[in-house]
């Protein structure tokens, strides 16, 4: 029995995620909701199984996957070359290109270049941070990159006025700005290299057929427009994503 057979036999696909990553996964009025919920609901239909959510702090998610606590992970990760060595990714479900969030009251920043020499926050050891640093080197004076354990603290610090901007993937910061327009605003356009969000799973043979089936389900959703509908619902826009990332830009 491999992973796919076990999942279909049990009729349950166990998916691990965190719940502090809006708009992909978050708690709205007490219930777990977000793009991932909707996407996996469709995947479940395709596979003919129920989805069982295991929600953890992000620190516990990837270790939990490796320990077999669940079959795959829904917290989407930016597809990078390094990560592809350890995990297998599904087809992308959204663009992850990095853009800038600023304070709504800050008029000194109107385009990405304006962050030159200012303090900008990003998650510690994230792909977004790497992009911010790479972009900074192209500016006359590099911005000072401040690293946070998670983006939520970076947003709080932006609101507190210690930093001038937060560099994060466009879908995420768009959602932030939409939630608190009086506090935050997005700086268009995105400055980063084009990257994508996809769901990680395990690379081993045991999981190969399961991952194949999930890939197929996502591609099918993409083909019949269901994915685009969901993107529209959660991001207010749609993304043109490739069917598979084989050679990530970062």
């Amino acid at each position: 029995q491999d992973a796919l057979e076990r999942v279909t036999a049990a009729g349950v696909l166990k998916v691990g995620t965190e719940t502090a990553f809006a708009p992909f996964d978050f708690i709205d009025a007490g219930t777990h909701t977000g793009l991932n919920m909707d996407v996996f609901a469709e995947i479940g239909k395709e596979l003919g199984v129920e989805i069982e959510w295991v929600t953890l702090d992000w620190a516990g998610v990837l270790p939990g996957l490796e320990a077999g606590q669940f079959d795959m992970v829904a917290g989407p990760a930016t597809v990078t070359a390094a990560r592809m060595e350890r995990y297998r990714f599904t087809p992308p479900i959204a663009e992850a290109t990095v853009a800038l969030l600023k304070s709504a009251k800050d008029d000194s920043i109107t385009k990405p270049e304006d962050i030159a020499g200012k303090a900008v926050g990003a998650g510690h050891a994230t792909a977004q941070l790497a992009q911010l640093i790479a972009y900074g080197e192209t500016l006359p004076t590099a911005p000072e990159a401040k690293e946070y354990v998670s983006f939520n603290e970076a947003y709080a610090d932006l609101a507190a006025g210690r930093i001038a901007g937060v560099a994060n993937s466009l879908p995420n910061i768009a959602f932030v700005a939409q939630q608190r327009p009086e506090v935050f605003a997005v700086v268009e356009p995105a400055f980063g290299t084009k990257t994508y969000f996809a769901y990680p799973g395990l690379k081993d043979d045991d999981h190969a057929s399961l991952m194949d089936a999930i890939d197929a389900a996502i591609l099918k959703m993409k083909g019949d427009g269901r994915l685009a509908d969901l993107q529209q619902k959660w991001f207010g826009t749609t993304f043109d994503t490739p069917d598979a990332v084989t050679e990530p830009n970062i």
Binding site: R86, H124, A125, K146, E153, A156, A160
Partner: protein
């Protein structure tokens, strides 16, 4: 699961820096907590009923809420009231305030442990209050307050991990970042556990040595 500590050890410079930050914050924070706690306990003992009651409120509030919450309120809320501190000073301040509430209780118990007669004996001999505290109370309570103080130091050590949340680059942050960059979580966790354990045992050892030294007069038997 493949287990490979080398991945992590290859980043030893970063790790050592993280450990150094942790130790710095821990030692300075603990000493400041103890000093502040002593001041609070002394004020509560000698400042009259009003001071005692007034200080009881912040002490209970600080002991009753998680350090995380206090840290966030100070760091992210501070700027709204014009107190915009950098991460390291904010972290040290929060840690010192948090620890001082507990230390003040430790010292309060210490004050109570000294038989009132010992103080009265000093008073009838004409000691001033400062002398009573310095010459009699502090040395006498030392043995009693030492073990809980070491305990408190250990608790503070573990709380320093939360400073990573406000961007202080201490060792939990370093280790878990290396863990997620290199995809070696379990290794990172084990290494972290080991380092904390060593620091804790070190603190315990120092405590026991100090205890031995201080208890010279108790161990001595004719």
């Amino acid at each position: 699961m493949n287990f490979d500590l080398n991945v992590i050890l290859s980043k030893q410079d970063e790790l050592l820096y993280g450990i150094a930050v942790t130790i710095f914050v821990w030692v300075v924070g603990t000493l400041a907590s103890a000093a502040l706690g002593f001041v609070i306990a002394t004020a509560r003992r000698y400042g009259g009923v009003l001071v005692d009651r007034a200080l009881a409120v912040p002490v209970e509030v600080i002991r009753g809420t998680p350090f995380l919450v206090q840290l966030f309120l100070l760091y992210f809320g501070g700027p709204y009231i014009g107190l915009s501190l950098d991460a390291l000073p904010a972290g040290l301040l929060a840690l010192s305030i948090y620890g001082s509430a507990y230390f003040s209780e430790i010292f309060r118990a210490g004050y109570q442990s000294v038989p009132p007669g010992h103080v009265e004996a000093a008073e009838t001999l004409g000691f001033t209050r400062g002398q009573v505290i310095r010459v009699i109370l502090l040395p006498e309570m030392a043995l009693l307050v030492l073990p809980p103080s070491v305990n408190m130091a250990i608790i503070l050590l573990k709380e320093t991990a939360l400073l990573s949340l406000i961007t202080v680059p201490e060792m939990t942050m370093t280790a878990s970042a290396i863990g997620s960059q290199e995809y070696a979580f379990v290794e990172a966790m084990l290494l972290l556990a080991l380092t904390y354990w060593i620091l804790v045992e070190l603190a315990g050892l120092l405590g026991r040595l100090a205890e031995k030294k201080l208890s010279r007069y108790r161990l001595a038997k004719a």
